[in-house]
Every structure is written in C-alpha cells, then in structure tokens.
C-alpha cells in the first residue's frame, strides 16, 4: 500500500494556482524528498494531507484513507513537523507533548513516557519544564521533531526541518530521522538543501510552480547531468585528436561523449566521467599525445535541480513510480 497517494491534486488560492494537478505516490517505508524552490507548493501539498488546506480538486489518500472522508484515520497516521513554529504557548514543552499524544488517543501515563522518550531522543529532556518560547532556536527545531514523533506515526512529514540550523544540529536531526526510517516509518521531507535529499532520500520528487517535473532516485538524477573532463596535453592543440572523433555520438547514451577544443585544451562532455575518462586516456595514448593534467567536474544535483526547474516548461514529465 502507498503511504501517500495523490491524483491530480489541485489547489487554488484566489487567482493563484498553487498546485496544478499533482499525482504522486510515496511507498510505505520509503524516504521521499520533495524538492522545489520557494513557492513551489511543497507546504500546500503537505497541508492538504493534514487538513490545514482544503484541496480544490483531485484526490489525496494516506495509507489508503481519504484525507477528507477518513480524516481521523489519515491524521492518526501522520506526525508533522511544520515549517513554521506553531507550539502551544501556555504549557511547558513536556506537557505539550503529552497533550499531542493524548489527542491521538494515547492514555496519559503512556503519553508521559512517550513525551520523555521523545525529549531524550532529540536531546532536550532537561528543558522539559520550559515553555517553547524560552528555548533557543536550535532547541525549537529539535522540539518540532519531538512533537512529530511523540504519536509514533507511520508517516513522518518534515517540512524544511533543517532550514536555518547549524551543521551539528542538521546532522543530529538527520541521524534521528534516518533511524526512524530504518525502523519502518515512512518519511516525507521537503527541503531546498540538495545535499539533504541526496544523503537521505530513496527517491525525490521535484515540484515547481505547482507541478511535479521529475520523480527519480537521487543517483538517477545525478546521472542525468553532464560531467566535464578537461585534459591538458603537452603542447596546445587546435583540433580534436582524430582518435576521439569516431567516438562522438552526441552524448545521448550513458557511455557517449562529445569532445571539443577550448583554449588549446581538450574538453570532453559526458554522462559518466568515470567510464569516459579511461577511454579518452587510452585513445590519446594510442595517438601518441602526452597528457599533462586532467580535471574532472561532476554535475551536482544542485545544477540538475536548477536546470530542471528553470526550463520545466519544455521538460517532459517523468513517468511515475519508476524507481
């Protein structure tokens, strides 16, 4: 069963079409990253699942439960750490957690144990009697995760959980989330830190202007970009050595590449620098060229991301659920 399943999900705010028909499936147990620039519709998508935003059209289900018709079952499965802080101001944080667990039907004594456990997990147990307002920025982020996990959710949704936090905290949060995922919790994470998606996610979906423009694994996405190999030969050259000419095939295949001369150096663009490099070196060696220096740059997911979202108008939509 899918943890999340949406079909042609739409949301309009006045004149603004924030979601333009999003169809997405997140499998049970998966770690799914929803990537997209600010205003892409990530938060809107999440808020429809928990009922903070009313969809204008389409379908959304969580573990098979319709988010409107079966709202209680759908919400019971979800633990949400929202982008903005929204924590009860009247109660110390431990009690806020006990309440949250209680709303999910956890009896008080069990809820208290869960609250302590969650606070220990995120490392702010000694602040349990403090009100949220008095926590430091980093502790606030930790608390948001504690509140999301206190109900022992099957689906953990984290909306930019590491926005504006330092490296140490980011790694702490990653570790906790990863462990939960390994223990079977499905995770939906939105971010615009590409590194985060690359490290954590089984699959990523790229959302741009309310449309899913891509769904694939981070690796697949990486291989989609073009790597560049720059070879400096002894003495400037002004034409691509003939040994390489025959190999040019426009760079369409995984092992294809395209070579040209730039500032007297040989520049090879390829899908896969690792595989191409050996071949290029062999060809140059056979042709009697002396290689002085090799510089290789791999595309970052960042570049692919920018590329995909920049010209998504002409990007064909990726087939769904192909990973």
């Amino acid at each position: 069963m899918s943890a999340i399943e949406t079909e042609d999900l739409r949301k309009r705010y006045g004149d603004l079409q924030a979601l333009k028909g999003v169809s997405l499936e997140v499998d049970e147990g998966e770690f799914f990253g929803l990537l997209g620039p600010n205003g892409a519709g990530k938060t809107t998508f999440i808020n429809i699942l928990v009922g903070l935003v009313k969809k204008s059209g389409g379908e959304a289900r969580v573990f098979g439960y319709d988010v409107e018709d079966d709202y209680r079952e759908a919400r019971d499965a979800i633990g949400l750490a929202p982008q903005e802080f929204n924590v009860d101001r009247f109660f110390p944080i431990r009690e806020v957690l006990v309440h949250k667990a209680g709303y999910h039907g956890v009896p008080k004594d069990v809820a208290e144990e869960r609250a302590d456990e969650a606070l220990r997990t995120v490392g702010i147990y000694d602040k349990r009697d403090t009100r949220f307002h008095w926590l430091s920025g980093g502790m606030k982020r930790r608390f948001m995760l504690a509140r999301a996990m206190v109900t022992d959710p099957d689906l953990l949704i984290l909306d930019e959980p590491t926005a504006g936090v330092d490296v140490q905290l980011r790694h702490d949060l990653w570790e906790i989330i990863t462990r939960m995922n390994e223990e079977g919790t499905t995770v939906l994470l939105t971010t615009h830190y590409i590194e985060e998606a690359e490290r954590l996610c089984d699959r990523v979906g790229i959302l741009d202007e309310g449309e899913v423009v891509e769904v694939s694994s981070p690796d697949e996405l990486m291989s989609r970009g073009t790597d560049t190999v720059r070879v400096t030969l002894a003495g400037e050259i002004d034409a691509v050595p003939s040994a390489l000419n025959g190999k040019v095939n426009g760079g369409a295949d995984a092992d294809g590449y395209e070579a040209r001369v730039e500032d007297g150096e040989l520049v090879v663009e390829t899908r896969n620098a690792g595989a191409t490099l050996a071949e290029v070196m062999r060809a140059l060696d056979d042709a009697g060229h002396d290689v002085v220096d090799v510089e290789m740059s791999r595309t970052s997911l960042e570049e692919i991301f920018v590329e995909v979202t920049r010209d998504h108008g002409d990007v064909t939509r990726a087939p769904e659920g192909d990973a």
Binding site: Y13, N47, V50, G51, L52, V53, K54, Y71, R72, E73, R75, D76, I78, L80, P82, E84, N86, V87, D88, R89, F90, F91, V96, V98, H99, K100, G102, Y103, H104, G105, V106, P107, K108, A111, R147
Partner: protein
C-alpha cells in the same frame, strides 16, 4: 484512537483537560477580575444604591441584583474563554496541533464549549459566593437554577466559538464583547425590573434573549417571576438555541471556517 479514559474518548478528554488547565492555572487572570468587579457591583449597587431603591418584586434590591450579576459573569466568561482560546490558537497557529489531530470535529467543538461553559459556571459560583457575603442567598428552585446556568453557559461558549473562528484580529474580540454582549446584558433586566419600563419598552425588551436568561436564573434563586414567560418555555427555547449553535460550531469546524486556507 480506540483508547478511552473515564469511558470517554482520550482525545476529547485531553483537549478538555488542556482547555480547563489553561485558565485554572492562571487564577489571577481567571478569578480575580470577576471577584473585584462583583465586589464593586454589590457594594455600589447593592448596598449604597439598594438602600434607596428599597424592594423590587418583594425582595431587597441586592437580592434582586444577584441573579443578574451571576448571569452576566457566567455568560461573559464563557463567551470570552472560548472566543479567546480559539482565536489565540489561530493567531499563534498552535491550534493546528489540535486540528490536525485525529479528534472528530464534534469532539473538538465539545471540548472547547464544555471547558468554557465550566469556566462560566465557576464564575457564577464565585459571584454567588460574593453575594453571600453581602446578603443571605436562597435557592428556591435548584433545578431551574442549574438548568438555566448550564444552558446559558453552553450557549455563550458556543457563540464564543463562532466569534473565535470569525475574528481576524484581537480587536474583533473586544468589539463583540463591548458592542454586542454588554448592551444585551445591560438592557436584559439585570439592574432593573422590566415592570418599571413604559409599556413600549417593556415589549421591546421581550425581544432581548437576555431577559429570559436573567429571568430564568432569578426564578431559580428567588422563585419570583417578572415576565409573563414561564421558565419552562424559556428553558426550551434557550436549550434549542444552545443545541443549534453547537451544531453550527461543528459545521464550521468541518468546513474549516477560519481554520483552513
């Protein structure tokens, strides 16, 4: 979600507890203002003015006043509590932690309404206690007293939920209180008997729902009845109104009015 406590759903009990603790733990905010205000009311109107007014409907003015002040305190505290709690939660967005939980909309509404009604009842008891310092309080019809107090606190808590969902700013809460609640209350026969009014105004006053609430509670305390509407008819109408407004609250929650984008 299936776990229960006291035979009631845990989610509902938890939200109810949260709502009650919010005001119980801040006694200076919750109990001091009505305490002071009512000591003043009883001293100034009851004692100082009361000596000049003499008897109304066969009781001392201070005793006549007491049921009205109880109604005033009970309903305004009920209304303020639910409207504030919901609006404050919306304003600071923490109500989202509740509204995204698997509580049914009915349970959410009942928790807000009943916790606020309880606050109204507690303030009503407090005011009765203050009154008892100034005069000897009698309860002639305990059933009607309890019934009317319960119904009007539920009614105004439920109205407060509508107000809390509707408000866009803290000013809205002040406006509702000052311009809607107060006039209704002050022309509702708390401080005077409708019998003293000219005929026209007597009948106009009968359009004010507050008249029946004050009248009903007064009937509970004093057994006296100033209006030609029996307490039973008033009770039926007010109960109907309370149920209708609670139902409206549930519809608003289900539609996400003021709670969703």
């Amino acid at each position: 979600m299936s776990t229960r406590s006291y035979g009631l759903p845990t989610g509902f009990v938890t939200l109810m507890r949260r709502e009650v603790l919010r005001y119980i733990r801040r006694p200076r905010n919750t109990f001091m203002p009505p305490l002071i205000t009512n000591v003043l009311y009883f001293s100034v109107f009851g004692v100082i003015l009361g000596n000049r007014v003499g008897e109304i409907q066969g009781v001392s003015y201070i005793l006549f006043l007491l049921p009205g002040l109880v109604v005033l305190g009970a309903i305004s505290n009920s209304f303020e509590n639910s409207s504030f709690s919901i609006f404050h939660g919306r304003w600071n967005e923490y109500i989202q932690a509740t509204t995204t939980s698997p509580l049914s909309y009915t349970h959410m509404v009942l928790a807000y309404v009943l916790s606020s009604a309880l606050r109204g009842v507690l303030i009503g008891i407090l005011i009765t206690g203050v009154g008892a310092i100034f005069t000897s309080v009698t309860v002639r019809n305990p059933f009607y007293l309890v019934a009317f107090i319960l119904v009007i606190t539920v009614l105004f808590s439920a109205l407060g939920v509508v107000g809390g969902l509707w408000a866009r700013d803290f000013d809205y809460l002040t406006v509702m209180n000052q311009f809607l609640l107060r006039p209704l209350v002050f022309f509702g026969g708390i401080f005077y008997s409708l019998e003293v009014l000219p005929t026209l105004w007597f009948y106009v006053s009968l359009l004010n729902p507050m008249v029946y609430m004050v009248n009903g509670v007064r009937y509970g305390f004093l057994g006296a009845d100033a209006v030609d509407v029996g307490p039973n008819a008033a009770l039926v109408v007010l109960t109907t109104a309370a149920v209708a407004v609670v139902a409206l609250d549930i519809v608003l929650f289900r539609r996400g009015y003021g709670l969703t984008e």
